[in-house]
Amino acid sequence: MTAANPATAGSGAGRLQLHNRVLAALIAAGAAGALAVGFVTLAPNRLVSGRPIGFVVACGPHFAAGMTALALVLLAAAVVPPRPALHRTAAIIAAALFVLVLATAGHAAASLAGAAPAAARISLGAGFWVVLGASALAVIDGLQRAGTSPWERLMFAATLAASVLLMTRSGVFDSLSLAHEYWAHRQEFAAALVRHIVLVAAAVGPALAIGLPLGVAAAHRPKLQTPLFAVLNLLQTIPSIALFGLLIAPLSALAAAWPILGSVGIGGIGMAPAIIALILYALLPIVRNAAAGIAGVDPAATEAARGMGMTARQLLWRIELPLAVPLLLAGLRIVLVQTIGLAVVAALIGAGGLGTFVFAGLGQYATGLVLLGALPTIGLALAADFLLQTVATLATGRLGR
């Protein structure tokens, strides 16, 4: 991809060549999103759907100009010949754009709210999400092309998260309906967030305790694999709502038969059935990755270990499990993200958690409330995914693979 290509060099501006198609496409998508659909929506009250407000009207000239300028700089980065330093700079500019998009939305909401009655609600529009998504993807693209280390990416993510937190703290988003919903549900929000994390921990912990031994057993006894994976695959095919529902009857019966169970919180609805269902869903990825990780250990290493006098236990703890760590971490990553998402559905059977807001919002047609449940869930999942990916990269790097 050099300027030697006559088709692109022929125009006379030989150096102006599209080097980063991804970045250019993201800018095009962001621009289209900003211009074609509403950046925010304005509704006269909480319960009716809003009217879209365009990018320029909503943002005002200063913010619109700032975002356009950053987008143009990014576009310039897409057409100059690439170097690692360039990609890193592009990532930083894209990150600045990401923060500016958020600030713009807050500013737009504040200025619209000033001119509207108190009951009016300003929500984030499709245009906002497109621009925000495009800038986030541009950050990831830049970091990938620059070949950044896991630590560098971690620093990047932490800086972005800190600036979003700082903006939230300083009230930038206070005029958005999301913030109204937050203030209205402040007490429940903290409790729901904690409950959500408790649900995930209470499911993933036992799932590891059950799944790891099952995976090890499956790797050592191939005959066990067919029936074991048949059951686990079957569990995975049951829709989550159905599984939560299916557990109600047997658990209520148990609680009715032994009241002591009911007194420790086991019943047809509540946390107990939710945690059981989440454990069942978590088993397949854990068992599958544990089995694959141990089966993937070089047979020469296990032969040598046995030939030198390691017991089966020493072989497992010193050789097989450490060598399976990259796949175990990959399994844990899948399970954490999956469980954080599935725990939302658990709110349907009274388990609490962030799903409470999602279903309440759906029932009231209040998108702000849905977002109050959905956004922290996505944040948790992204954070878990990113952290485990970093750990996995570092662990795998040590093995020189």
């Binding site: 070089d298 020469a300 270990a305 030939g307 030198m308 006098g309 017991t311 020189g400």
Partner: protein, 307 residues
């Protein structure tokens, strides 16, 4: 001393090892030789009970191997294999320290032993101790594998085609290294290979296996000169085995004492093959022979080489 007494093993009715008896004296370099499927690896792995015995007994140092828990037995016997099987997540030093640590040696003694072994295998301890296996070449990995097998100073070393996967130059160097170590330490080595050249180079005694049965057990020369069966004769090279004999017999065996000849003399301990090469190079059919001290011993002729 390893006594293998009417040992058998079968898988699904097929005899892989069939009533093999073999007494390997202490300090011998014993090679188990045979084509693939002859049962040589299985027999080797029965000595440290990686393969359980169906019948017969094996005694190592006078003790029946079945009287010792397998882990205890294996920690007393060194073991090296073709694929090396270094633990990829452990550094070279930790790999070598495997058995000493299983035996709970004090930390200091383990560390000293690792240094000693790296030096024995001619790997600079300062440089190699902290490396990971993937940073080593194939030959270096195999050296570490041999060091690891020797780590707890076992009396017996079992080696299953350890040099089959390295290039010929490295293999020759490793063979020389192993011979030197065996002569220096006096260990009993049981070495499996399908390569007749390697066997002749290393062995004090060769056991040839055919379909799980012991076809012949003897010194390399005995096997080359008096093959016990058509199979053995064929396996050790047919007509070409004469050339191999020449590599093992020395000039001293065919010497004409007190005769004289002109030209540059041969050493009496040179092989007949070296003598033939010297005659071809010097266009001579008769050369004088001296000993290491330079004393003339006699002469040897071209005809003597093939006598």
């Amino acid at each position: 001393m390893i006594e293998i007494d009417r040992v058998s093993k079968s898988y699904g009715g097929r005899h892989v090892v069939d009533e093999v008896s073999l007494a390997i004296p202490e300090g011998m370099f014993c090679v188990l030789l045979g084509p693939s499927g002859s049962g040589k690896s299985t027999l080797l792995r029965m000595i440290n009970r990686l393969v359980p015995l169906d019948g017969g007994t094996i005694r190592v140092g006078g003790e029946d191997v079945r009287r010792v828990p397998p882990e205890v037995l294996r920690r007393r016997i060194g073991y090296a294999i073709q694929s090396v099987g270094l633990f990829p997540h452990w550094r070279v030093g930790d790999n070598i320290a495997t058995v000493p640590r299983l035996l709970r040696w004090p930390r200091r003694r383990v560390s000293e032993r690792v240094t000693e072994l790296l030096e024995l295998l001619r790997l600079d301890p300062a440089d190699y101790r902290g490396k990971y296996p993937h940073q080593l070449s194939g030959g270096e990995q195999q050296r570490v594998g041999v060091a690891r097998a020797l780590a707890a100073d076992p009396d017996v070393l079992l080696m299953d085609e350890p040099f089959a996967a390295v290039d010929p130059v490295t293999r020759a160097a490793l063979q020389a290294e192993l011979l030197r170590i065996q002569q220096a330490t006096g260990k009993t080595i049981v070495f499996v290979t399908h390569d007749i050249e390697e066997a002749l180079r290393l062995a004090g005694g060769i056991a040839i296996l055919e379909h799980g049965r012991l076809a012949q057990w003897g010194t390399p020369l005995a096997i080359l000169e008096q093959p016990a069966s058509a199979f053995v004769g064929e396996f050790v090279g047919g007509a070409a085995s004469g050339l191999r004999v020449m590599a093992l017999r020395t000039v001293a065996d065919r010497l004409r004492p007190n005769e004289t000849a002109a030209g540059e003399p041969l050493l009496d301990e040179a092989s007949l093959r070296d003598a033939l090469a010297a005659m071809i190079a010097r266009h001579a059919d008769r050369l004088p022979v001296i000993d290491r001290a330079g004393r003339p011993l006699g002469a040897i002729t071209l005809a003597d080489l093939v006598r």
